[in-house]
């Protein structure tokens, strides 16, 4: 009897385990069955318009495409490529669904994952996805030029093992940006009417720390409802306001000899901690700010009671755009450190927000790479953003920017836009191309969207390319996951102690917590983490072909000179 029970148990275990799937074993021979294309001058998607349903999973719950299948964008994609794109989005933000998909071994044709997820390195290294090079060379040669010549910077940046595995979205290529100044990522804003009152009454422009404190004190004393300074919520990643303040105070991420400098270990970073602590001690940072979440910050901003906003403006666009009083406006502020250095702000360009991979479970990788070719082509990018030439948009005289057609403008005014489906298909969005060709002018734009677009524009003189600081850590290192583990550990320690530093009763106590926190991080592998980061920093500079990564150390750097609120000539819409 015992034997029977033991055998049954063992069999059950075996059955359960084999029920869990594994990655596909498909190799090169699988690709041999599909017709190869050698002509790189003809768009690959024109070779094959046979019907195929593409199962596409996106690991971001908000990337819904509600009109998919019925709108102009999806209909045109189908018409051009024969692909019916069936988008599925995650039901949560924690990748649990994706984990289940991967573990079950039944992957969809395409997976889009967040750029900061370890999946971006795990999927290629553990053999779940095809390399784009392999697929492009066999089935979509018209795509090769795009990534190996035109957007070579992107190819160089993202290659692993000498191959490109995923296509990033929201990734800025030099091919489209040129020398144009972009808005900064973070930006401090002040309520204009109150700020003018401070300037007029106190004669303070709030660009130095002392002047800033006097201005905030004046407003919070005068207006009982005023929230002196609003900072971002504290999260497991730290606090974004502290990140932006470090940029305002020009804390470098590079040493003068060109090697990596971990910002929070820099002596200058203490100034960031001390200043935030002073704001807390003085009561300018509301007590609720330490325990609030994004919704709470949103409410505060939307009520119009925030005097100085140190939050990440684009995360609260709706709140800034829906202020209760039309006369309440926010304008930027150029706050400086004790040394009077000009802020060195990170501009909006990013190296990818999400990555799309073609999985080895895809039955027609030859077909899907052609879909990718179409969607990343200028024609495809124009389609997902502006529709069809002659129908919804036309090029301007110089063929530089698109203009909406009368038909589209009329539909916009009639609020009849669901038929188009623009702005949903973003998994392969090339933001820099969009920025380069998008229409100028106020047509088809709401007042709120123009206000938001202009919000940080006067800070453009202070914004710089921070790409070198997006460390290119070698994911093929033997100890890569030791690094990931220890990075998580030191980040955890930092993010837990940061609110304590800021909420401390004095600067002395704040710095004491800072020192003990750094020591604790060192005891838990900070030195190893920094050494890997330093190597990643050199790799990123090599990929970018730059000698100095910190803008101030670059030969052509000249400290910008503007007024206390930046340069208003950068406003695109505001008079």
């Amino acid at each position: 009897m015992k034997k029977i029970v033991t055998t049954a148990l063992a069999l059950t275990m075996l059955c359960s385990m084999t029920a869990c799937g594994g990655g596909s074993e498909r190799g090169d021979e699988f690709l041999d069955q599909f017709t190869q294309i050698t002509d790189s001058n003809t768009p690959s998607w024109t070779y094959d318009t046979e019907d195929y349903d593409v199962d596409w999973f996106i690991d971001a719950s908000w990337m819904l495409w509600p009109t998919n299948g019925a709108d102009l964008v999806s209909r045109t994609i189908y018409q051009k490529t024969g692909c019916k794109v069936n988008i599925r989005v995650a039901s949560d933000e924690e990748s649990t669904e994706l984990s289940t998909l991967v573990s079950s071994g039944d992957l969809p044709d395409v997976i889009t994952v967040k750029a900061n997820s370890t999946y971006t390195s795990q999927l290629p290294s553990q053999g779940y996805v095809w390399s784009m090079d392999q697929l492009m060379e066999r089935f979509a040669p018209s795509m090769i030029n795009r990534y190996k010549v035109e957007q070579k910077d992107i190819y160089n940046w993202f290659q692993q093992d000498g191959k490109l595995y995923g296509i990033p979205n929201l990734c800025y290529s030099d091919n489209y940006i040129g020398d144009e100044k972009l808005s900064p990522n973070g930006g401090f804003l002040v309520r204009e009417d109150w700020y003018n009152e401070v300037v007029t009454t106190l004669g303070e422009d709030m660009t130095t720390k002392e002047s800033f404190l006097r201005g905030v004190e004046y407003i919070t004393n005068k207006y009982s409802k005023a929230i002196g300074v609003q900072i971002d919520p504290f999260t497991a990643s730290g606090n974004l306001s502290a990140t932006w303040l470090a940029q305002y105070f020009a804390v470098p991420y590079e040493k003068t000899d060109g090697t990596y400098n971990h910002q929070i270990l820099d002596e200058k970073y203490k100034e960031v901690i001390s200043f935030l602590n002073t704001l807390s001690v003085e009561g300018y940072i509301n007590e609720a700010n330490f325990t609030t979440n994004t919704a709470g910050v949103n409410t505060n901003i939307a009520q119009g009671n925030v005097f100085v906003s140190m939050v990440t403006p684009q995360n609260y666009n709706n709140a800034f755009a829906s202020l209760p009083d039309k006369n309440i406006n926010y304008i930027p502020l150029v706050l400086r450190n004790d040394a009077g250095d000009a802020p060195v702000l990170q501009d909006l360009r990013g190296k990818g927000y999400m990555f799309s991979f073609i999985t080895k479970d895809c039955d027609r990788p030859d077909k899907v790479i052609k879909l990718f070719d179409y969607m990343t082509s200028e024609e495809g990018q124009l389609l997902i953003n502006f529709g069809v030439e002659g129908d919804t948009f036309e090029w301007d005289e110089n063929h530089e920017r698109v203009q909406w057609t009368e038909k589209y403008i009329q539909d916009y005014e009639d609020n009849n836009l669901t038929q188009y489906g623009f702005g949903y298909c973003n998994a392969l969005l090339n933001q820099s191309f969009y920025d380069k060709v998008s229409p100028v002018g106020k047509e088809c734009r709401t007042d709120a969207s123009m206000y938001i677009e202009d919000l940080k524009a006067p800070l453009k003189p202070y914004s710089y390319d921070y790409t070198p600081s997006f460390l290119l850590v070698d994911t093929q290192r033997d100890d890569y996951f030791d690094y990931v583990e220890q990075l998580d550990m030191v980040n955890r320690i930092w993010s837990q102690k940061l609110p304590e530093m800021i909420a401390a009763s004095s600067n002395t106590e704040a710095l004491s917590i800072y020192n003990s926190t750094v020591q604790s991080m060192k005891n838990n592998g900070l030195d190893f983490v920094v050494s890997v980061m330093a190597e990643g920093y050199q790799r990123s500079k090599t990929a970018l072909g730059v000698e100095k990564g910190w803008p101030v150390y670059q030969e052509d750097y000249v400290a910008p000179v503007t007024g206390a609120n930046g340069d208003f000539s950068y406003y695109k819409y505001k008079d």
Binding site: G22, A288, F481, I493, N524
Partner: protein
């Protein structure tokens, strides 16, 4: 003739029993299969605790192909800088809960039993049950709004009553345990009392009548009849609660957790979820889970042993 009839009755019964037995065995086998598939078979995954399966995205490969690392995953947890906080919070919160939230439903049930006005009794019971049916997300959201130092009613009220000078931020770590215990009490006391109310309802009324004759008052009856009569129920629940000492209410804690109170609110369950499950550290997570299960098993056996020694009653 009689003998023949008896034989045939026995045969019919035997046949019926045989049919019934197979039906019963078949029904029982479904339960056994369920246990085998969902409880015993996954136990094979325990070996992950001793393997280098972190960050391997295919769980099958993690189990079968990753290398053995002995007790390294356990060591990692023991030397983690948050280990002390996590263990202290888990144990203290559960001990506090055992001290306050375990007896509270018993006391509530005893008092409810003494209420003579049926309408009032039902009203109180309904009101006390209600929070149980709200999810922690909803209930916690309501509480967080009430205690919000900026917009919540609590700080405003206390300031108007001149009990505090500045808004009180109950989200800070010094208040965390209190908030967790009190909110769990509000949410669970009514529903938790149901089992005891049912046990009280089953007490033989003759004992109360005898006590009346003996001149016992309400307190006397409660103390000498009601409470001793429900001791077996209390014992079973107490033993199960002790074995549950390392299981904290994940949802509740997750709702009330913020970056500034982590030192007081991080418990094993939230720690495992955030740094194990979400980071795909399957081996690390399994090791912590296994450690927790072993300690819980020891607690359960100990509690049962002590209970048997003291009261003569246990759960097995």
């Amino acid at each position: 003739m009689k003998e023949k009839t008896a034989n045939s009755v026995t045969q019919i019964r035997k046949k019926k029993w045989t049919v019934n037995r197979w039906t019963l065995l078949f029904m029982a086998s479904l339960g056994v299969v369920f246990l085998l598939v969902f409880n015993y078979a996954p136990m094979y995954g325990i070996i992950l605790a001793f393997k280098k399966g972190d960050y391997v995205i295919d769980i099958r490969k993690a189990i079968f192909e990753s290398s053995w690392v002995g007790f390294k995953n356990f060591e990692k947890f023991l030397i983690d800088p948050q280990f002390k906080d996590v263990i202290v919070n888990t144990l203290c919160l559960n001990l506090l809960s055992l001290l306050i939230n375990f007896p509270a439903p018993i006391i509530f049930a005893l008092f409810i039993n003494e209420v003579r006005n049926k309408t009032f009794k039902k009203t109180i019971q309904t009101i006390s049950y209600f929070p149980y049916f709200l999810s922690w997300i909803v209930f916690g959201g309501i509480i967080l709004n009430i205690i919000n130092p900026q917009t919540g009613i609590l700080s405003d009220l206390l300031m108007r009553l001149k009990l505090i000078d500045a808004p009180l931020n109950l989200g800070r770590s010094e208040y965390t345990w209190g908030v967790l215990i009190v909110t769990a009490l509000i949410k669970g006391v009514g529903w938790g009392s149901v089992i005891y109310v049912a046990a009280i309802a089953g007490i033989d009324t003759a004992m109360y009548e005898a006590a009346d004759i003996d001149g016992a008052g309400r307190w006397g009856k409660m103390w000498f009849i009601t409470l001793p009569s429900i001791i077996p129920t209390i014992t079973v629940y107490l033993i199960l609660s002790i074995s549950n000492l390392l299981n904290s209410g994940f949802e509740q804690i997750y709702v009330f957790q913020n970056q500034i109170n982590l030192g007081a609110s991080e418990v094993i369950d939230t720690y495992v979820y955030k740094y194990g499950v979400l980071n795909k550290r399957y081996s690390y997570t399994t090791a912590i889970g296994l450690l927790k299960s072993i300690i819980s098993l020891v607690l359960l056996i100990s509690a049962n042993f002590i209970s048997k020694k003291i009261t003569g009653k246990g759960i097995y």
